[in-house]
Symmetry: none
DNA sequence: AATGAATGAGACTTCATTCAT
DNA sequence: CATGAATGAAGTCTCATTCAT
């Protein structure tokens, strides 16, 4: 995994005492993700983060100035990683609307994006969003762009399939709700759901809305 | 609202110096909910909570022993309140499966249950559930009971309507995912969604799955 | 044991809700002794004491005004109990000096006086005597009277036996030192020494000083 | 005295902001000894200790983690200091048993070891030993080693002098009792006894037990 | 670029004492 | 005489941040 490579090998006799600004920043952000996932946002202290990064307390301050800033940069990193993930698949030219929609769904449940650790971090920030407007603003921006695209793709599917009664906005919001709800399942019931269970559940919903484009998959026990 | 009545009027010359254990506990739990909603779990201190309850710092310790215990009791209160809400409607005898299912949905979005303040608290606990097993256990228990009932109701609807391809377990989990995802919307986009928008979205989904029982509602802009 | 009788039977359905001032005071003093022995002076709180006495927090305040006062009264009780013990035996008329001296020794190691619980309390007060002059004053007074008597008795023994080289003051101080040192042994090595071991050790010393009056007892393993 | 040198001069414009771990630890341990002697164990707070050390409150936690740990390390320091003191004199090769025994006695009453301040600390820990097993264990270990040596030395003296009726174990325990009892005298009657008074009293006892080895010193008033 | 001792504000908690009942 | 909820000062400990090295 990415952050593991960056973390210096503890068994090696020496670790390099200097590294580039970017390497250190990423090292600390990865350690922050690990720590929030393990101890929760309330249990995340600079000491734990810097120890997880195998760096000194002073260095975190040097690179991020304040704890609050480190947290915000961590959220920004996750947001950008997420954004890049779906943007990359989505922008492959010549994809049909159906394939583009599925690309967004797949990105959402890609293991790099939707592992339990990162979901834990997302929900920590969601939970604090009432208290900290900065978090909500950040989360808002990426959601809005993706949702608008989803609305557009649904419109195209409606055109293609002639689904007269379907409201594209409604479908897009329901999809967004499903994304988050299923993520929460991954968080709360660790080990019970695979990414494929989740994607299947989304596709089953799409099959109901757009039956000419998507097929309802065969029964399963719903637990993967 | 309840906690407002309990909070003594600060302008009155005297407040009663003693009250029953139950009154004080509820007063503190209500103040805890207010505080988490306003400051987040990480920003919730005993000082803020007790000041919000207009009580002394020592009293919280007297009634709840530790902060952690107060938080857990607050979560338990919310869980029980939620549980009572849907159980009450659900148990009205002679209700058809469709009506029972709708009763559960309505309970989930009842203003007493799903106002922004309480949802903020729920998500705070969800976020910490990785770090604190006690939270997950509590949330688990109420979810499981309701989900099992939903599976059973779906099974009855399938029997009644002959929906051969519908997997009741799958539907139940998707519904649960939707509940949480829509709650998150209420949290993240305050003021944009009414409880009726949310319920309509659920019913639209049910209309797709069980078309003989539920009607898809007419178009809307999805924003309430 | 004394304090056990005073402590109401917890299994009885009712305890008398009122009792005389003296009974309650003694109940609380006994509970204080138990608590200091068990938790140390630093770990002794009014809550623990009153719970041990099976009484309410307010009552201790009613009877003793402050915690400090309760502690001092407890020390005074022990001091008086100790004083009465040796005074009673000592004052039996017609006792010879040797018998009187032995009476004082026996009183010091009487099970009512020198059980591990009470010794623990004594040393707690000794330890704080630097910080709290009141404790030292109290302990001083009883010690001085007894030591003066010991000096007088030694003088009489010296007269009787013609021990020319013996300094009665020196012997008295050494005896006092031995009393305390042996008490400390009882405290530090619970279960290893009986009162008879202790008294024998004192008598061995007296046999060395006053060989015509006391006999050195036969060898033992020194552990009782 | 040692701790005075370590304490920076408050009137100097600057004190060094950093020092080695060992220096700070010793500075805090010395301040702890001063504080216990002055305020008693129950009156010893971290605030008082750190102020006495002229250091910040947080630093004590940084170096000792908890108050309890600081107290235990303080006791350990005293125990080791004591142990080193008698071990050093004792191990001087070619000393006769008599000289070795006197070396142990002298170490016990050496001003570095048996000043009133440190004795106050010792008795504070003795008093709490019922409540805190850790204290007793620590005190036990050093006592046992020294007492065993004393037994051995007595045995050698008995051989040399042919004291048939003397039980070496008994003498050793009596000596230990005397040590502690005389220490308590130093604590309770400050200014009344010199170390020489104490040592003389021990030697008088030894002269009674081993008359061929030790001489009873001439009379004194027993008060130094 | 990096360390880690040091600070101090503020968190949680304890506990002697008060007081309405 | 008795209770026990309530207070609030003071205690221990945490932790983001600073700074000399």
């Amino acid at each position: 995994m990415n952050q593991e490579q960056l973390k210096p090998d503890k068994t090696s006799p020496k670790k390099p005492r200097t590294a580039s600004k970017e390497v250190r920043r990423q090292q600390l952000i990865n350690a922050t993700i690990d720590t929030i996932a393990k101890h929760g946002l309330a249990g995340t202290t600079m000491t734990i983060v810097t120890r997880a990064a195998d760096l000194s307390a002073g260095l975190a301050n040097f690179h991020f100035r304040t704890k609050q800033n480190l947290l915000e940069e961590t959220l920004r990193f996750l947001a950008e990683e997420h954004h890049n993930q779906w943007k990359k698949s989505y922008e492959k030219a010549n994809l049909a609307p159906k394939a583009k929609l599925l690309a967004i769904v797949a990105a959402h449940f890609h293991p790099k994006i939707s592992n339990r650790k990162k979901i834990a971090v997302w929900f920590s920030f969601f939970a604090e969003s009432t208290a900290r407007a900065a978090y909500r603003k950040l989360a808002d921006e990426i959601d809005a762009e993706r949702r608008n695209l989803t609305v557009e793709l649904c419109r195209q599917l409606i055109d293609e399939g002639g689904y007269e009664d379907v409201d594209p906005v409604n479908v897009a919001f329901t999809l967004e709700g499903l994304y988050d709800g299923l993520w929460l399942n991954i968080l709360m019931y660790p080990g019970e759901f695979s990414r494929f269970d989740m994607m299947k559940r989304i596709e089953d919903y799409l099959a109901l809305v757009f039956p000419k484009h998507f097929q309802c998959s065969p029964h399963s026990n719903g637990k993967g």
